[in-house]
């Protein structure tokens, strides 16, 4: 069947066999930033934004997406260089293996839409849906806090 939705800001018509998950569909379509660690909704590596909310793509069937908005990390990536949040991840050392990184970045992007300057508890809450076995979450949380601060500075600097 055919399903139409907005993918990374563009109209997307997906030819999808029944039962295909969004995770399968996205990876098949070359959106490799969407990772997978369990295929049953418990690791968060497949996090994408659906209508702005962080959700596990492995639990979502493509056929249910008609008319919705889907975003992957590719939507946030700059052509050259990195976003302030990515920069903060790099500077603080928040990336180890990097397998969970796209999911963490998306979870934080989602939270920023409702809490432009999230406090540490909100950040931890947002990241709690993404399992990371490498970092102990210390530096990812620090990166998100750091970005809070530098963004503020940039604004006053302008």
């Amino acid at each position: 069947m055919k399903v139409h939705f907005i993918l990374n800001g563009k109209r997307h018509s997906a030819k999808t066999p029944p039962g295909e998950t969004l995770l399968e569909h996205l990876r098949k379509s070359g959106f490799y930033s969407v990772k997978h660690g369990c295929d049953e909704g418990s690791c968060g590596a497949c996090t994408v934004l659906i209508d702005g909310r962080a959700q596990n793509a492995c639990l979502i069937l493509v056929q249910t997406l008609a008319g919705k908005t889907v975003e992957t990390l590719e939507h946030f990536n700059l052509k050259q260089g990195v976003t302030p949040l990515q920069e903060a991840f790099l500077k603080t050392g928040a990336i180890q293996c990097g397998y969970c990184t796209p999911a963490m970045l998306l979870a934080l992007e989602a939270v920023k839409r409702t809490h432009p300057k999230p406090d540490i508890e909100t950040i931890r809450e947002a990241l709690s849906g993404v399992l990371c076995r490498c970092t102990g979450y210390v530096k990812p949380v620090a990166a998100a806090m750091h970005e809070n601060v530098t963004e503020g500075e940039e604004q006053t600097g302008d």
Partner: protein
């Protein structure tokens, strides 16, 4: 130093931050086949009948393989150097099932779904045999798990279910106990826990245009993969290329050769590309885990509280097969006996087979099991004798210049090498940690409230590579803009090792780290490296990088002299400067050497191997709250202070510590693989196997004590494993401080706490 010890951004950072396609599975191969396995539903038994006709007839199925399709060739999946010090007790596919999850058959089909459907259509009948689930019952049990192998030098006594045995004797332990003022004896145990790297095991294989077999796989040991696949499939090594892409975490789990040989076999049979990824469920029963150990300690002390003797007994459960059986328990003994001076030592360690999942290499490699026992025991002794646990430890530590006798006796499956301690920051780690946690004020606080706080400490040491075994080689070549290609077989499994190696090269060559272009781990393109295990990369591979960079620097200097037509010159800030002040830039030197003058490629190679494995040290402090009504334990704070010598990249080193802490806390509190009475796994999802989330994390304070290790590159020692040893015993000691309950068998559960408090029978 300009680069070493500084925060440089990872060389692969931008690709990772942008989620670019770099991991094994991030590519599409045409005409791909998907593999699924049929696993044994029983813990022990023999296949009496197997019929694959229906499975093979299913449309979309390319091939179904069973044990009948492979000549019986025993090997080990341990992924170690050759000859592997692990018993060769495995076949690719088996006629005998030894645990729930043993491999019965493999199916390759057009889609994973069809492959799974076909696997379910395979008809198998088993003759079930009695099984062993408790390692204490294994030795001399009438049930024999590996009866058929008799002539393997690394298999100790299969008829008695003993996969490996290690013993050691130093001095006269009995005499020493007899003369000791205090003698203590305790037993501790640790459970099955798993690596739980978020990227599952994933392998892709195909034939390239020259019909060579390409294996793109999430592995820590590409060169061992090449050797072992060549051996088990009897396929020439020169026709195999193994590519290690970015890896999504390994922690030892990806040292194992788990699926590479199966994918390769199917590609060779069908000529088609093959993909095999383990599901999370499969990870939990068919991949590897930490060896559960029962550790018995007897420790004697004199009147001054100096340790007189240690008697150490280890019973290691290696599960149904023996990868790493010998070496993990050797490390348990070798590390635990390297921290405190004991003039008399006796060791008896047995690794036994049971009909449970197979254990393997997991970060710490036996040391976490050993230090859980030793550091719990020191706490018990201190409490019993009424002395401060830190003081008791400090009294007994090895000092710089001391020989560590156990290192000579126990090596990696063979005798070790003499080891003198060059540097130790252990005392300073303990003192700084005590300050950071507020040891004086917080310890032994009042014991009447419902929720009680306590603090605990644990010390530990690890190694830096395997002495006399681990070898790394690198190739370094110069380009005309004074950039350098660093080609290394070292395997960055997500730790940042590529960046650390680039830093060492940059420091030695005197250029910014951005000009080191790292290409790692491809058996066709990079020199040999034993792989990423035993915390070896910084120390061993880093040593090779430093040597190669020194050689290349010398070549640049002599080429510069030649071009300047001078005999005396030196290198200053990317220039070769002659005595008369005339100078030539690195870029120009390279450019002219490539195109016009005394033409040559400026390049160097080097290999490095070390007979030293200097121990990094760590002190971990935990603060916990115990709810004495519910038995729930909450870890409030962890302080971890490490001596890793000269730290090459501070944020990355901190990251190693911060990531190790929740893995150890998981072993102490929340992670536990459990099995039912028939050996079937009860925990096969992240819902049941609870690894720490961002919300579970306590406050974490990480610091380093600076030492300079003369045998390491720029004074560095290893950092990857050492921080995983301390948190579990520190937590258990803090629980004792909080509520007086001593947990000797991990994991800590509310029931065990309540039982200890006398609130549960």
């Amino acid at each position: 130093m300009k680069v070493v010890g500084k925060n440089t951004v990872r060389v692969d950072g931008i690709a990772l931050a942008k989620g670019k396609a770099v991991f094994a599975d991030d590519l599409q191969l045409p005409d791909l086949l998907h593999l699924k396995l049929l696993y044994s539903p029983i813990a022990h038994g023999r296949i009496t009948h197997i019929d694959t006709t229906k499975a093979a007839a299913l449309p979309g199925v390319a091939v179904v393989l069973t044990h009948r399709d492979f000549p019986p060739h025993f090997y080990t999946t341990a992924g170690q150097g050759y000859p592997e010090p692990s018993p060769r007790d495995m076949l690719i596919l088996n006629p005998v099932m030894r645990y729930v999850g043993d491999k019965v058959a493999v199916v390759a089909a057009e889609t994973p779904e069809i492959a799974q459907q076909a696997a379910d259509l395979i008809e198998v009948q088993f003759e079930e045999l009695p099984a062993i689930f408790d390692p204490r019952d294994a030795i001399d049990n009438p049930v024999v798990i590996h009866g058929e192998i008799s002539d393997d030098p690394f298999l100790y006594d299969p008829r008695r279910n003993i996969a490996a045995r290690v013993t050691a004797d130093l001095g006269d332990v009995d005499e020493a106990f007899h003369n000791s003022v205090h003698v203590f004896e305790r037993e501790y145990s640790t459970p099955y826990v798993q690596h739980a790297h978020i990227e599952p095991h994933i392998t892709l294989t195909w034939l390239d245009d020259h019909e060579r077999l390409v294996i793109r796989t999430a592995t820590q040991v590409p060169f061992h993969v090449r050797r072992i696949v060549s051996e088990v499939l009897d396929f020439p090594l020169h026709r195999i290329r193994v590519i290690k892409p970015r890896i999504g975490g390994g922690f030892g789990g990806k040292q194992e050769i788990l699926n590479e040989e199966l994918c390769a076999a199917v590609t060779l049979k069908t000529g088609r590309p093959v993909r095999m990824e383990m599901t999370r469920r499969e990870e939990f029963f068919a991949a590897r885990s930490r060896h559960p150990e029962i550790v018995k300690l007897k420790i004697g002390l004199d009147a001054d509280l100096h340790i007189t003797a240690i008697d150490l007994k280890i019973l290691e459960n290696c599960g149904a097969y023996g990868p790493h059986a010998l070496t993990v328990m050797s490390v348990t003994a070798q590390k635990t006996l390297s921290l405190y001076k004991a003039p008399n030592i006796r060791l008896h360690a047995d690794a036994v087979y049971t009909n449970l999942p197979v254990a393997g290499a997991y970060r710490g490699y036996g040391a976490p099991q050993g230090f859980f026992a030793l550091e719990s025991m020191l706490d018990e002794i201190a409490a019993d004798l009424g002395v401060d646990p830190i003081e008791l430890r400090e009294k007994n530590l090895f000092s710089p210049g001391d020989e560590i006798p156990i290192a000579r006796i126990l090596g990696e499956g063979r005798e070790g090498y003499e080891m003198k301690l060059n540097t130790t920051g252990m005392t300073r780690c303990l003192q700084r940690g005590a300050e950071l946690i507020g040891w004086g004020e917080r310890r032994g606080s009042e014991k009447t409230a419902v929720c009680r706080r306590g603090v605990g400490v644990a010390a530990a040491c690890q190694g830096s590579g395997i002495p006399g075994i681990d070898m790394a080689a690198v190739f370094l070549k110069m380009n005309e803009d004074a950039s350098f290609n660093l080609q290394t077989g070292a395997t960055d499994l997500g730790t940042g090792a590529d960046t650390v190696l680039a830093q060492i090269a940059a420091e030695t060559l005197g250029v910014p780290v951005e000009r080191i272009i790292v290409y790692a781990a491809d058996t066709d393109l990079t020199p040999f490296d034993t792989g990423a295990y035993a915390s070896s990369t910084t120390f061993v591979s880093g040593g090779a990088v430093k040597k190669a960079a020194e050689k290349l620097r010398a070549k640049i200097l002599s080429q510069g002299k030649l071009l300047l037509n001078t005999r005396r010159a030196e290198i200053k800030d990317e220039f070769v400067v002659a005595e008369n002040g005339e100078k030539i830039s690195f870029g120009e030197i390279c450019s002219r050497s490539l195109y016009t003058d005394n033409q040559r490629q400026l390049m160097a190679t080097a290999s490095h191997m070390s007979y030293d494995s200097p121990p990094p040290f760590n002190a971990t402090f935990a603060e916990v709250t115990v709810d004495t009504e519910t038995g729930l334990v909450r870890v409030e704070k962890i302080v971890s202070v490490t001596d890793a010598g000269q730290v090459i990249n501070p944020p990355m080193a901190e990251g190693q510590v911060e990531g190790a802490i929740p893995q150890s806390l998981g072993m102490a509190l929340s992670e536990h693989m459990m099995f039912d009475k028939k050996g079937r796994p009860l925990v096969t999802t992240f819902h049941d196997y609870h690894i720490y989330t961002a919300l579970d994390m306590p406050e974490v304070v990480v610091e380093f004590i600076h030492t300079h290790e003369p045998t390491g590159p720029y004074g560095a020692k290893a950092v990857a494993e050492i921080p995983i040893d301390g948190p579990a015993p520190a937590v258990v000691n803090a629980i004792y401080d909080a509520c007086g309950v001593r947990i000797r068998n991990l994991p800590v559960t509310p029931e065990k706490i309540l039982r200890g408090l006398g609130k549960l029978k």
